[in-house]
Amino acid sequence: MASKTQAKHELLALYEDPEGAADAVGRLRDAGFDDTAVEVLSSTPYPEGAFGERHTKHRLFAFPFAGAACGLAIGITWTVGAQITLPIITGGKPVVALPAIIQIIYEGTLLGAVLFTVLGVLFESRLPDGVGLYDDRISDGYVGVSVLARERRVADAQIALEEAKPVDVLSREGSLMQVSGTT
């Protein structure tokens, strides 16, 4: 169990433009904050690297292959199993007739790939997420920079965020800029 001194606090700073957010990310990095502790939030997808963030590592490409393999296995099991369980002999043709069942195996494979891809999207996007700090102004075009800091480093994080001239800095308790009067 984490001790009280190790508890992490989240701060969210809002910037009017991407340059401000990129500046804040740079300052947080200079202040010693790890890239995994910093997130940039926006209502619009910006090109990768626009905020100076590192390349996003993910395993999304593995999910469709795993899903396709599962779908293929289920498709084969059902179609072949159904024919073997109840063999219908038609005109001396084989009981397991591949040309007549390949459609279902094909659909099963692709359905598995789609289902696993969607699960992969949710997993890799870290959704559902109901705990992150957020502000509605982000959907109006402001860019948010969120940082997770240990209690002893919250002040350092706030200084780094404020040096990049944010519109507001928020914590769970509310706006920090109104409290400190540094607008």
């Binding site: 926006s42 209502s43 997808p45 910006y46 469709p64 159904a82 369980t85 692709l110 959704l127 948010g144």
Partner: protein, 457 residues
């Protein structure tokens, strides 16, 4: 293409969510009228269940009439969404941005409507589960997976599930936007649950972009398979006029032709009905019309192949079917209407830039295409069954009944109401995608010209 949409974030949010958060009177009027059509169709189905399929006018030898025609037609229209959306996403066409969501939603409701018709046509819809579900239902008999009765549901179920998930994944950022802009706590809570806490982190956007490409790549083969399998409902039979190897690609390209036309029609209606003039421009309609010229011409090529395959074999039954389809009255009238509305009127008109950029003319010509394509399906299905075959002593002309016509009209009501309801509850324009287009848009100077350009990752 093209001039990017220019609107600041707040304006874009307001305009794109305007219809979601407002209640215009016309919505209730149109919704009420559409519900009336659906109730009429529902009543016809109830009476049909009581009296049997003969109530719809089916008798030997024509058992496949308007219901199956409508099934094929709506499956065809449903191909628009994925074709347009997936291909444009994969090719990163800049003009895709306002088009994709509407096309995908049209796919969902067309498919949902299409699946009603084989169920109704079964005469006893509740029994279809015995034929299709992979379970023996205590009868000691599994459904036969070699039957097209199992192929069709598996393909359509896969396509419908994939499309719904595809739309949902792309919708998550816009659900988050709706959550942030919702005017009351209840809507905010509902959109919040649907958005699953999406915050728009760089990681989430990156995954969104990759997911769009991945899902597009997976769904494209599904889209091709669905109409191929629908075509095999016909082609695997021994009915002259249907037993043709060209049917799968012919059906798929025909579906794309009618589907993309339907997307154009819907977008023009959306432009005016939802106040999206800034987002659906002449450039978009122009681009879709150029695509349609190619699609329509490929479709004509396959139609001619189907005809030549039928005639060159000199099989009397095949030749007889084609003679009935194209020459004998009353089919000759339908054949003329079909070929003029599906190709000879619209395509030469689309050659002119002034037509491609004219909303009214594009609306009319794309409606014409779908009239033609509906008739095309009718001409595929009915004449082949009407033909007098060997050892058949009862044969005759098939005439559509009023009940069938009501069901066709009700199906249009169902698709339009579904689309309208979606647009009322959820953003019909991909707001994040449109805003991304603005970020990436730029103008570059080439010589003395100042032209629009787009940066791409």
């Amino acid at each position: 293409m093209q001039e990017p949409v220019i609107a600041d974030n707040k304006t874009a949010n307001r305009e794109l969510l305007d219809f979601v958060f407002s209640w215009p009177k016309w919505f209730f009027l149109v919704g009420g009228a559409l519900n009336g059509l659906i109730v009429a169709g529902f009543l016809v189905v109830v009476v049909m269940l009581w009296f049997g399929l003969q109530f719809l006018g089916y008798s030997h030898p024509v058992y496949w009439g308007f219901l199956i025609v409508n099934f094929v037609f709506w499956i065809g229209v449903s191909h628009a969404g994925i074709m347009v959306s997936a291909i444009l996403r994969l090719t990163q066409a800049e003009w895709r941005r306002p088009v994709t969501r509407a096309a995908e939603v049209l796919t969902i409701f067309s498919l949902l409507t299409a699946v009603q018709f084989p169920l109704i046509h079964s005469g006893r819809p509740w029994r279809t589960m015995y034929w299709t579900f992979p379970y023996d239902w205590n009868r000691g008999a599994w459904p036969n997976p070699r039957s097209p009765l199992v192929w069709d549901p598996s393909a359509i179920f896969t396509y419908l599930t994939s499309t719904i998930l595809f739309v949902y994944v792309a919708l998550i950022p816009d659900l988050a936007l709706a959550r942030d802009r919702a005017p009351n706590p209840i809507s905010r809570a509902i959109y919040g649950v649907l958005a699953m806490g999406f915050r728009g982190s760089t990681r989430q956007w990156r995954i969104q972009a990759i997911a769009g490409i991945l899902l597009s790549a997976i769904i494209l083969p599904i889209f091709v398979s669905v109409h191929s399998i629908v075509s095999w409902d016909f082609a695997v039979t021994s009915v002259p006029g249907w037993h043709n190897t060209i049917f799968a690609p012919y059906f798929v390209i025909g579906a794309v032709h009618s589907g993309v036309s339907a997307v154009v029609t819907v977008m023009i209606v959306m432009r005016y009905a939802f106040g999206l003039k800034r987002y659906i421009t002449r450039d978009h309609i122009d681009s879709l019309a150029r695509l349609l010229i190619v699609v329509a011409t490929v479709w004509l090529f396959f139609f001619m192949l189907d005809l030549f395959f039928g005639l060159y074999g000199t099989e009397p039954a095949e030749v007889d079917t084609w003679q009935r389809r194209l020459i004998e009255p009353p089919w000759i009238v339908l054949a003329i209407i079909f070929i003029f509305t599906a190709y000879l009127i619209p395509v030469p008109m689309w050659m002119f830039r002034s037509v491609r950029r004219n909303f009214f003319l594009m609306f009319v010509t794309t409606i014409l295409v779908n009239i033609g394509m509906w008739i095309e399906r009718y001409m595929v299905v009915v004449p082949a069954l009407e033909r007098k075959s060997g050892l058949t002593f009862t044969y005759g002309d098939y005439a559509p009944s009023l009940s069938e016509i009501i069901l066709v009209i009700a199906s249009f009501g169902l698709v339009i109401l579904g689309f309208l309801t979606f647009a009322k509850l959820l953003p019909i324009m991909p707001a994040a995608d449109i805003k991304e287009g603005q970020i990436l848009a730029d103008r570059i100077k080439v010589g003395r010209a100042n032209v629009p350009a787009a940066m791409r990752e």
